[in-house]
């Protein structure tokens, strides 16, 4: 199997991921991306560069965007993690996911999760961001397929959708 045998120096970790409580013993050097993917088998968090530049592995930790390749699993002890698997609920897509479909904001789809998580955090802070504010967030990650125009349209569309659902 992917995971290693329980380690002698393993550290106990309690974390809530997408609303579900998990308890694990992890190698101190295991990063959060590997923990989510290998231990919890939540494989929607993709890994693009493993050095914190591309933003594809973004997850939310206590509501903050985090590069899961740069954070150790043990650092999320006692915290709340949201991943792409936590976006759609009850068989219904999240408005951000809907918007990406409508605006063709994805092609290969490998990087999209990282964008969506960062945008989730943006909307929590600022439900109606300006184009510059959107660019500030989108500018932190890399997409090789779309050329970003369609991603900007997707975020604007999502903001409109979520605004409409609030009012």
């Amino acid at each position: 199997m992917a995971s290693e045998q329980p380690q002698q120096g393993g550290i106990r970790l309690k974390v809530r991921v997408n609303g579900e409580q998990h308890e694990s013993v992890v190698d101190p050097r295991m990063n959060l991306a590997d923990y989510l993917r290998e231990e919890l088998r939540l494989t929607a968090t993709h890994v693009g560069c493993e050095h914190g530049v591309c933003g594809i592995c973004n997850v939310l930790v206590d509501g903050q965007t985090v590069r899961s390749c740069l954070m150790l699993a043990v650092q999320v002890d006692g915290k709340e993690v949201l991943t792409v698997e936590g976006l759609a609920e009850g068989g219904k897509l999240h408005p951000i996911q809907e918007a990406f479909i409508e605006e063709h904001g994805l092609q290969c789809g490998f990087c999209t999760g990282g964008f969506m998580m960062a945008i989730c955090e943006l909307f929590d802070r600022n439900p109606s961001p300006s184009e510059e504010e959107i660019k500030e967030v989108v500018g932190g990650q890399i997409c090789r397929c779309t050329g970003y125009n369609a991603i900007l349209r997707s975020v604007q569309n999502a903001a409109a959708k979520m605004g409409a659902s609030r009012s």
């Binding site: 479909i101 490998f110 369609a150």
Partner: protein
């Protein structure tokens, strides 16, 4: 019975196409957005091990010893392989020019930094990487060569021991009386250009899981593989296996752009699997490995170009000299990139004669592989600079200078000097559209004002041909044999009338599964979301190449429509029997079979399928009762290449004109793209939204090429760009707002008149941006001839130009 594949949308058996020709929601998206699509690194197989690869820190060194004992003793390590295992169980890479391939793990000598030297299979990637640190390799460093001009000299260090030279190919291809054209020319323009190494960098690197059973010798590979069929044949050749012993299961992958690479790593995981008795071995390339030694470096080129122009300003001849640095071994089909320009050598122009002086050279750098466009983007970059040099020198507007050299719309199909035939085009119309879109005269007026204020504002006009639907014959000059690239699809209607289409390629991002659904929906009167597309592995799939060479949209359309036609033909025979008539009296439209002259006598596709499967007893014995058909589509009329490489190769010729406005900050050398307008014509647009997506993405990759991306090596061939901090990928801040307009000149040769369009804008963008930069620099009397036009390079040019100007002033 011969089938007829619809040549245009009107020939589809529907009153009005409801889906083909429109943008629709992609069937791929929900799975991708929820993380349910399985990428290869998501796959876990029973008893799976993990591979890590030890790589050479030297560009050129003799290996005098490899000690793996300590690594093998580490807990969790299952096996270690070295060059010895590679020599025992595999052959050198077949993707190099003949005689230039090496084994997947170095033997006596390393040829570039990052070349595999040993590899470990262990219980986890972390343990495997720990084990790498315990492997002792003794190197005797040798003098490296990083510069292809030095490499061509007799006294140069030899990259490969097996060769007596570093020159893989040195030939001049001449098409027509080039010397005559240059002798008679009123003007001859010459210039040198440098295109630095860049590459694909898909967001997902390569990955695979290999299972090679040492008893049966069956080899199964899961992977993020762009061309599963070719990849499987390659592995069969490398491991001397019968091709039916190799099965490739390609997973959805996070982009490719030709640069997925991975063959060396995959071969190494196969060797490890064989050594551990067939247990699955996963190898996931990390980004550092990709940048250092992956499949994504391409086009390390030095050009010397000459253009002959007559007294009327008509271009009468073109000479292109190219020294192409293919890196150490030329593996991964890098040489193809130098051959592909033959498919569109003279661009959209009537240039009657041309010459290609081509040198493929080995150095101690990573072997170059494919990248989106596969060679023509640098070629058009130099051709379009030459057109600007000529226009500027003759005092002509760059748009109008191009226009008068265009192939006229009434001369298609048109055979170019290098042998390929362009299917159709309306270049003047495409130019008119983008001139109007950009309000070109206003751009020029604004430029005059900006120049008066001393600002460096430039407007670039550039255009290119995108060869579409590749054929192997285009690459004959670098030794690729053969003609014809088949693509197959099986369409099946089940007992309840639902359609499933089985194909041989995986999701990559271009939306081809959506296209398949659109086609079947319009053909049979279905809804696209009810059509299911299933990908088969290579042992089950119909013949398939998959995406590549801007072919799949056209090819899969031919395959799917061909299969639909075959089902219709078979069903019409069934309906004829049931209605006690003849097949020629049965008509098919909007999903219904009707009997001519018998109103009310009709059957739906579902009814016919249900009858065929549930009541096959009613069918005549010569009818196969499956409502299923496979069609294999291949481009018609392709010809073998002649001695000079001339062939009818790529089936379609798409065209685009881009107009770009830039401003350069003279204090920093930074380029700001202020407007980006384009018009393009890729024939019938089967899904305009996905075509637009390909264009938008390709423009930004082209901007990366023009301004940012470069794999830098020092003079000792040490790579200096091994992270995304050093290799600069475009972000949203580098992506201009795009203004686009479409022209549709259908191809007379393809299903529905569509042309290849997936590689797209990268053919034109680097040229257009560079034309704009040089237009901005023109008042300073300097020009940039090297991409990327990074701030440091432009700043230096501007500074030198100003110093020259002030020296001249001082001399007065």
């Amino acid at each position: 019975m011969a089938i007829e594949i619809p040549k245009n949308l009107d020939e589809l058996p529907t009153t009005r196409p409801r889906y083909v020709g429109r943008g629709i929601r992609r069937v791929e998206d929900v799975g991708l957005l929820t993380g349910r699509v399985e990428f290869v690194d998501d796959v876990v197989l029973p008893r799976m091990l993990h591979c890590a690869i030890l790589r050479s820190p030297f560009p050129h060194a003799r290996i005098t010893g490899v000690d793996t004992q300590a690594a093998e003793a580490l807990e969790g390590v299952a096996a270690v392989v070295t060059g010895e295992d590679a020599r025992r169980w595999s052959l050198p890479a077949q993707s190099s020019p003949e005689g230039w391939g090496t084994h997947c793990i170095a033997g006596d000598k390393v040829h570039y930094v990052g070349e595999p030297v040993a590899a470990v299979a262990a219980s986890s990637r972390r343990v495997a990487e720990d084990a790498l640190e315990l492997i002792e390799v003794d190197y005797e460093p040798l003098e490296p060569v990083a510069d292809p001009f030095k490499a061509m000299k007799p006294e140069s260090p030899q990259v490969l021991d097996a060769q007596e030279t570093n020159v893989m190919l040195d030939r001049v291809f001449t098409w027509g009386d080039v010397d005559g054209a240059f002798a008679e020319a009123a003007h001859v323009f010459q210039e040198k250009f440098r295109w630095n190494r860049l590459g694909a960098n898909p967001t997902e690197t390569f990955g695979c899981i290999s299972e090679w059973d040492p008893m049966s010798l069956d080899l199964t590979i899961h992977g993020s593989i762009q061309s599963p069929g070719m990849f499987g044949l390659g592995r069969a050749a490398t491991f001397s296996l019968p091709s039916n012993k190799v099965n490739i299961i390609s997973h959805a992958h996070g982009g490719s752009f030709g640069g997925k690479g991975g063959t060396r790593g995959c071969d190494i995981s196969c060797l490890l699997s064989r050594k551990v008795d067939g247990r699955p071995v996963k190898w996931i390339e990390d980004r550092g490995e990709y940048l250092l030694s992956g499949g994504g470096q391409a086009w390390d080129r030095h050009y010397e170009v000459a253009l002959a122009v007559d007294a009327q300003g008509i271009v009468s001849g073109l000479k292109v000299g190219l020294v192409d640095d293919l890196g150490a071994t030329g593996e991964a089909y890098g040489a193809i990139s130098a051959a592909k320009p033959l498919a569109a050598f003279t661009g959209p122009y009537t240039i009657p004669v041309a010459q290609y002086d081509l040198k493929l050279v080995a150095t101690n750098k990573l072997p170059c592989g494919p990248y989106r466009g596969m060679g023509p983007p640098p070629h058009f970059f130099v051709l379009e600079q030459m057109m600007d040099i000529a226009a500027r020198s003759l005092g002509e507007d760059p748009a109008e200078f191009r226009r008068k050299n265009f192939i006229p719309a009434d001369q298609f199909p048109y055979t170019i000097a290098s042998g390929n035939e362009y299917d159709s085009g309306n270049y003047g119309e495409v130019l008119d559209q983008v001139l109007a879109l950009s309000d070109y005269s206003a751009l020029r007026a604004a430029q005059v004002e900006a120049r008066a204020e001393g600002r460096l504002v430039g407007v670039g006009v550039a255009n290119a041909i995108e060869p579409g639907v590749f054929d192997w014959n285009a690459y004959a000059i670098v030794g690729m044999p053969g003609t014809g690239v088949p693509e197959g699809a099986t369409v099946n209607i089940d007992i309840l009338g639902n359609a499933t289409v089985r194909v041989g390629f995986s999701l990559e991002g271009q939306g081809q599964y959506t296209l398949v659904c659109q086609l079947v929906a319009d053909y049979f009167g279905y809804e696209p979301e009810n059509v299911r597309v299933v990908q088969l592995d290579t042992q089950s799939a119909p013949p398939s190449f998959g995406p590549g060479g801007s072919r799949l949209g056209v090819a899969i359309t031919g395959a799917v429509l061909g299969a639909c036609e075959r089902i219709r033909e078979k069903m019409a025979r069934v309906v004829a029997v049931l209605m006690q008539s003849e097949p020629e009296n049965i008509e098919f439209m909007d999903g219904k079979f009707t009997l001519k002259g018998a109103p009310g006598a009709e059957m739906t596709v579902a009814e016919v399928a249900g009858t065929m499967l549930a009541r096959s007893d009613l069918l005549p014995p010569d009818i196969d009762p499956r409502p299923e058909a496979t069609h294999v589509w291949t481009a018609a009329g392709r010809t073998p290449a002649d001695e000079e490489g001339r062939a009818k190769s790529y089936l379609t010729a798409a065209h685009a004109v881009h107009i770009v406005q830039v401003e350069i900050d003279p204090e920093t050398g930074m380029v700001e793209i202020q407007r980006y307008c384009l018009a393009d014509d890729c024939g019938t647009r089967l899904n305009p939204d996905t075509v637009e997506g390909q264009t938008e993405g390709s423009v930004v990759q082209g901007i990366g090429a023009a301004l940012l991306e470069e794999y830098v090596y020092d003079e000792d061939a040490q790579p200096l760009t091994t992270s995304f901090m050093d290799y600069l990928m475009p972000t949203v801040f580098d992506a201009p707002k795009l203004e686009m307009v479409a022209v549709e000149t259908p191809s007379p040769f393809t299903p529905l008149g569509a042309k290849g369009c997936g590689e797209g804008a990268i053919h034109t963008t680097p040229a257009a941006v560079m034309c704009a930069i040089n237009d901005a620099l023109a008042p300073l009397g300097t020009s940039a001839r090297e991409v990327p036009a990074a701030p440091m390079r432009l700043w230096k040019l501007i500074k030198e130009a100003r110093e020259r100007a002030s020296d001249e002033n001082n001399n007065y």
